[in-house]
């Protein structure tokens, strides 16, 4: 061990908190408000036992559990945890991934870490300070979430439960900060570290999906920070054990990252950089070729992710027939009048649910279609916003100072984003279909599935065209498109609950206009109108981009 490995950690923590001041504050305010707004709303929705039982019925359905996590009880508090906690954890994880990368690998890549290292600070002070900064920010987040929830004074949400809800969220965040620090040691590039961290988030999400729906495999949920947090059973017994497991795990993973950090040189990674081609392939030699090359790896990785996510749900859907018997709400969902269902005997009901199993399964296919579309939008948005990143980091200058018009340059990125939208939907549908086809009962036709996924593509285009419009006219605030994306996600997951939000608000999301196949009719006119609108906005954005100063 060298002398003074951790020297000046405290000062670095203060410096990092200074850099985090704005970003972390925005994150925390948004997250806390997000968690506070829904608690009273859910309480007004579940006024009586019957209404609550109906909402609790959601958690009898493995598809919904695989998406949202389990609920432990039918009190408002327990339902709140069941519906909200997992989404909250994912948002907290994303915050922590970016936080950890920002102060470690990103600083190394830009050479800022070198300047800091030349000062009398310890060799491990940077990574140590990052972990402490994450600890402080997650603690603030945990306390504000807990206090915020307590402030809503929602019945059945006790103070201890509120604080535990905040604490498990913060602890899970800390675990992801530590995991990201490990990936920052392994990968030599910022983008690699971010990519690996998001991949781990996806793996942990799927691990707990399998653990949550099948009690034989519940151990899988205990291996995932996302599943562990649910196991704290907030507002339904409040178990503190998972909290300690997460804190110990965060410390252990962070220790691993410290060890790896001490074994490598500054700027290097464990995944080595290989020498590449000495001259360019023909396919690189155009503005489009460059855009494609820059996005290629990301696109391929996301195609694999979407295919596997689709496949994962394919397995779950294959088993669903066994769960749906004797559940009257499903018969109502597929259109049998309530009064008819009420008169059925158990036997008739079993018969009917068996008969309509395919339809019921299709119905749940609809739920995951919109969720998959939202996930598939991430690479599409990354492709479109890369345009702005190239400008901000000064690389656009190399291209535009050569014989390339701005229109030609921007069209490369835009066309890739448009095509990738359809590709992502295709990959998800293919994964879902192929895995479901191996099951005993495959309710899907590939054509029908594809149609359902493709009908979301115009909505994806509309969101991209909003991004292009921002980049064309308001480049400095074009990051706001991610905020809009967050709103759309929120509306898809939560906004559908009747009575929770005013109706007009839900129309902010283009997803709202998409017919949900196969329950609703495929609508060519909606697709055409939306496509036309997105092309119009894109063209306006491209014109704006051609007329403004580049902001380097």
């Amino acid at each position: 061990m060298n002398k003074g490995n951790f020297d000046n950690t405290g000062r670095l923590v203060r410096f990092m908190l200074r850099r985090e001041r704005l970003i972390a504050t925005i994150w925390i305010i948004i997250l806390v408000l997000f968690s506070m707004v829904l608690a009273p709303g859910l309480d007004t929705m579940s006024v009586d036992d019957e209404a609550r039982a109906q909402i609790a019925g959601i958690f009898d359905n493995p598809i919904m559990v695989s998406m949202m996590g389990p609920a432990y009880g039918d009190s408002t508090g327990a339902l709140y945890s069941g519906m909200m906690l997992l989404w909250y954890l994912i948002a907290v994880a994303v915050m922590n991934i970016f936080l950890a990368v920002r102060h470690t690998r990103a600083d190394e890549e830009t050479g800022r870490a070198e300047v800091v290292r030349s000062l009398p600070v310890g060799r491990l002070a940077g990574i140590n300070a990052t972990m402490f900064t994450a600890l402080i920010i997650n603690t603030i987040l945990a306390l504000s979430t807990g206090l915020g929830l307590a402030l809503t004074q929602t019945p059945t949400m006790d103070f201890a439960g509120c604080m535990l809800y905040g604490a498990v969220s913060g602890a899970a965040g800390l675990v992801f900060a530590a995991i990201t620090l490990v990936f920052c040691q392994l990968s030599q590039s910022t983008s690699g570290a971010v990519g690996l961290s998001f991949l781990s988030l996806g793996v942990f999400y799927m691990l707990r999906a399998f653990g949550d729906i099948d009690s034989d495999f519940e151990i899988l949920s205990w291996l995932s920070p996302l599943g562990l947090a649910s196991r704290a059973k907030t507002f339904a017994g409040n178990s503190i054990v998972p909290l300690f497991i997460m804190l110990i795990a965060a410390a252990a993973i962070a220790a691993l990252a410290y060890k790896l950090n001490s074994m490598r040189d500054l700027g290097q990674g464990f995944i080595p950089a290989k020498p590449g081609r000495s001259s360019a392939a023909e396919s690189l030699l155009s503005p489009f070729g460059l855009s494609f090359r820059l996005l290629r790896k990301m696109i391929i990785i996301w195609l694999i992710i979407m295919f596997s996510l689709g496949g994962s749900y394919g397995t779950i859907i294959g088993d669903i027939g066994t769960y749906v018997s004797n559940m009257p709400q499903y018969l109502e969902i597929i259109g049998l009048p309530e009064e008819v269902v009420a008169t059925l005997t158990d036997e008739q009901m079993t018969e009917l649910t068996d008969e309509y199993a395919d339809m019921i399964i299709e119905y749940f296919g609809v739920f995951i279609t919109s969720m998959m579309t939202l996930i598939g939008l991430i690479p599409v948005m990354l492709a479109a916003t890369r345009l702005r990143a190239e400008e901000k980091e000064g690389r656009v200058e190399h291209i535009l100072s050569r014989a390339v018009s701005r229109k030609k340059y921007i069209v490369g990125f835009v066309s890739i984003a448009f095509v990738v939208s359809a590709l992502m939907q295709l990959a998800t549908a293919a994964g879902l279909y192929l895995v479901a086809a191996t099951g005993e009962k495959n309710p899907f036709s590939f054509g029908g599935l594809l149609k359902a996924y493709i009908s979301y593509v115009p909505a994806m285009w509309l969101i991209i065209s909003a991004a292009i419009l921002l980049i064309g006219f308001l480049p400095k605030i074009s990051g706001a498109i991610w905020g809009y994306y967050g709103v759309v996600c929120f509306l898809v997951f939560i906004g559908g609950m009747p009575g929770l939000l005013p109706e007009w608000l839900t129309y902010i999301s283009p997803m709202k206009f998409i017919p949900q196949l196969p329950l609703e009719e495929f609508s060519l006119s909606v697709m055409l109108i939306m496509t036309g609108l997105s092309i119009m906005l894109t063209v306006i954005g491209v014109i704006g981009y051609g007329k403004r100063d580049m902001t380097l």
Partner: protein, 245 residues
């Protein structure tokens, strides 16, 4: 009368309230190396970016090869090569790939010349740009610029990261282009470089072009009360700075 490569008339650029360029008049002829000097933040890079059509002038005009720098940018760039002061590249592409891309975006490539440049500048084209030092990133931009058959070279502090040997190589290539009758617009902080290469020099301070002429004329006009000429860029700057305040 000599043919002009580049001309600006009362070129002005403001960002909000801040005036980065204030009525700049420049003329560069074919076969001439024009040095553009001035302190940091004086407006050198803004001038260049306006000439490249990356920024739009607030008022005044900028012509390259007699064409408008903003509206005819693409046409102009077919005959122009540019090396930025701060070369930012794509971390996951190799130097060789970037050079080929840059050359191809202008026009045809000359394989033999590319190889000679790589050898002269001692650059390994198989390395990812992420691993290059500042000097090596500049070499990538320089190789791409000199590998192209341009009529005007705009070079923004192109040698700030190069070692003295590479600086020599760079100067040879600039003189080669000058002798071929090309125009060169060179922004620089290095007096020896300006002294050896530049036919005329323009001094910009706080967005205003305060003096143009040969380096000797500039030195004469900055002589102190005893008639002693400034012997370094520092003293030249200092004299101009104190007289402009």
């Amino acid at each position: 009368m000599k043919e002009l490569c580049l001309e600006t008339k009362n070129l002005t650029k403001s960002f909000g309230r801040f005036t980065a360029l204030d009525g700049v008049n420049l003329q560069i002829e074919k076969g001439e190396v024009f040095g553009y000097i001035g302190p940091n933040g004086a407006g050198k890079t803004t001038t260049i970016r306006t000439l490249l059509g990356i920024l739009q002038a607030s008022s005044g005009e900028a012509f390259v090869f007699g064409k408008d720098a903003w509206t005819d940018a693409v046409e102009i760039h077919k005959r122009l090569a540019y090396v930025p002061g701060d070369v930012n590249l794509w971390g996951n592409l190799t130097g060789g790939e970037v050079i080929d891309l840059f050359v191809s975006l202008r026009g045809k490539s000359d394989k033999a010349r590319r190889e000679k440049l790589l050898k002269d500048f001692d650059l390994d084209p198989t390395k990812k740009c992420r691993t290059y030092s500042k000097g090596n990133r500049q070499k990538v931009a320089l190789v791409a610029a000199f590998a192209s058959d341009a009529d005007l070279f705009i070079l923004d502090e192109p040698t700030s990261g190069l070692d003295p040997l590479m600086e020599q190589i760079f100067q040879e290539y600039v003189l080669e282009q000058k002798n071929k009758g090309k125009g060169i617009f060179l922004s620089s902080h290095i007096l020896s470089e300006v002294e050896r290469l530049c036919d005329r020099v323009g001094v910009i301070m706080k967005g205003k072009l305060i003096k143009t002429g040969t380096l000797d004329e500039l030195k004469q006009s900055a002589a102190d009360s005893d008639g002693k000429l400034p012997d370094s860029m520092e003293t030249l700057f200092m004299r101009y700075y104190s007289s402009s305040v």
